[in-house]
Symmetry: C2
Subunit: 378 residues, 2 copies
């Protein structure tokens, strides 16, 4: 599924050039591109044929054109530049920005530098941001694992910022259940930040996506973290803060979520714990709704999946399954597929029985055959 | 201050008789008494000269008249029967019942059997209920001690139900800071229930009040706990639930509080703790507002005291005090008084300096002399 983009595509080179020039959101440039296309916009930037605001906003780096090198660096990592030209551009997610103002920080991303083979559009169709403090407690990490893991199992993509603490726990929980996750970075996707998460970021890019609106080589900076937080909120159906201080990046993400009309949720914690002070206060002040578990999140964020289920148990139609049918169904992945021998190994059910169970599961609407194997029906 | 009531007062005997006959709220009887007085109402009950409803409601015990014995038992404990005839009847608290229906459980108490020398009216002027599960966690007991202790220090009476767990911790916290507390029982005030709290109840009656709407000898029963919960809510400016299950007595108290337009508050806790499940869910469902500390409670329950103060610090006029003046002021009790030598011992400030500091504190409006010593000005 990797799209090895042509580095001599002049349109793509224009996007890459412009992304490097503005390094972050720039609503007037986005508008200009919508009007005249990326190549004409790039010409206007190069030749300083711009409105006063855009002139000022682009002057510092208009002369820098490393588009070929940036795209090559990305390509060598197996990445691609996703732009509004692409089918996988998460177009409807970008509607979130329509309600915002046009300040320097408020615009949609011009384009997104992406590593990972999945489609950005598909992965952000049903997604939840799970964010929080770097100084997570054992409680916070535990609850993050529970909630993010259950959401990922239910087919929600977990979006977070790859930071230490809650962010990392959220990504790991999704990976741990074979779910999907997106890391949105405040630096180039070629940078492992934090360095201690280099391996985690590699795993995320293999099973999900690592995304940035900054070209390769960009270093993390305070304003980029704030802009990144707005992307985390934009790319999801709701923001869950698990543990956070009152003045925290996670609360900033929550604020973006509220501005974008995303449901904002927080997990309560002991009033004696500094790590929970921000969450408790957000709940108290009405900035966030209290959530204790994945079903609470789904209740806020969307009517699909867990939402209609009962209290403590995740009751699905599959409750009717038992014995080998259940084992085989459980062995089918929510995303992707498994071959019959793989299902057999995973479920511990002999291949011949797996085949007959799969046939029955297909009839009952629980399993779907695909080219190379079987998947769960959604 | 103990009011040794006359056991041959026919009006009081009528109240005691009627209280024993109905054992709990009976709005139609309260109305009848308001109309014709307790003696005529007692005659009507004795002679079965009643409406159909009141006839049924009183028939089981109309022939039982242990008023003299009950009042004597109470008197021997240093108690008294407080009725709407008395100045200390918490008249405005009873307005809470005006908004409720007239079902069997909804009425105001007919009269209250009280042990303790304080005035019931005064003690319920500024009061907060702090309630919760018997199966309290260490966290719950700790937070109860913090919140109830701070509220009591600030002059709020802590009202609770004397049960094990959160209730007991709330009473103890108030006693521990030399504050005021009221235990409302679901049995006669002569009964120590739970037995393990016999000593605590004695301490409460010495420093606060033990109150019941049931005559001496009444045993605890399920419906009396529910009726007791309504009294706890009625006698306070707000209900704080520290830890509770979803179906719990504490949540019942909170429900009464809401019906009586009292602010209802809950302390959040770990989503992994069963003891906090009810509180977290009450907050989530909008049944209670999240509170983390005493100032949050005061913000909900009343504009006096801590409410206008800043975040973490209790800023009062006394912030202007320092050195010996502060030590001496801190050594003055909020209720009651201390002699100059006692203040000296408590503050560690020599007697001569205590005297001059007290004079200055009096001039500045921080201390008030009384017959046997000094107290803080309110």
């Amino acid at each position: 599924m990797t799209m090895q983009q042509e580095i001599d595509d002049p349109r793509l080179l224009a996007w890459a050039y412009l992304s490097k020039v503005v390094q972050g959101p720039c609503a007037p440039l986005t508008e200009l591109i919508e009007k005249v296309g990326p190549q004409e916009a790039a010409r206007a930037v190069r030749e300083r044929d711009l409105s006063e605001y855009l002139g000022e906003r682009t002057v510092a780096r208009a002369h820098v054109d490393s588009a070929v090198e940036d795209l090559r660096a990305l390509s060598e990592m197996g990445g691609r530049l996703v732009t509004p030209d692409d089918d996988e551009w998460p177009r409807w997610r970008m509607l979130a920005f329509d309600g915002l103002g046009h300040s320097r920080a408020d615009g949609p991303p011009l384009a997104l530098w992406v590593v990972g083979s999945r489609s950005l559009g598909e992965l952000t169709e049903r997604s939840i941001s799970v964010v929080g403090t770097r100084a997570a407690s054992g409680y916070g990490e535990h609850v993050t694992a529970e909630i993010a893991g259950d959401l990922a199992l239910d087919g929600w993509t977990i979006v977070s910022g790859a930071a230490f603490g809650i962010d990392g726990a959220a990504h790991r929980a999704a990976l741990g259940v074979g779910g999907l996750t997106i890391a949105v970075l405040a630096c180039g996707v070629d940078r492992a930040y934090p360095a201690g998460h280099a391996r985690l970021l590699r795993q995320i890019s293999q099973n999900g996506l690592v995304v940035s609106e900054y070209p390769p080589g960009t270093t993390p900076a305070k304003h980029r973290f704030l802009a990144r937080n707005r992307l985390v909120a934009a790319l999801s159906d709701g923001v869950v803060v698990v543990e956070a201080g009152w003045r925290s990046g996670a609360r900033n993400t929550a604020t973006w979520g509220r501005r974008m009309s995303r449901p904002v949720m927080a997990v309560p914690g002991p009033v004696t714990s500094a790590s929970s002070a921000g969450c408790n206060r957000m709940i108290r002040e009405g900035e966030a709704r209290l959530v204790a578990r994945a079903v609470d999140v789904v209740e806020e964020a969307g009517p699909i999946g867990l939402a209609d289920t009962e209290d403590d148990t995740v009751a699905r139609d599959t409750d009717s399954l038992d014995g080998n049918a259940l084992l085989v169904h459980e062995a089918l992945p929510t995303r992707g597929f498994r071959s019959v021998p793989e299902v057999s190994v995973e479920s511990g059910v002999p291949i011949a029985i797996v085949r007959s169970m799969l046939a029955q599961l297909e009839l009952d609407g629980f399993a779907v055959p695909c080219q190379d194997g079987w998947m769960r029906s959604r």
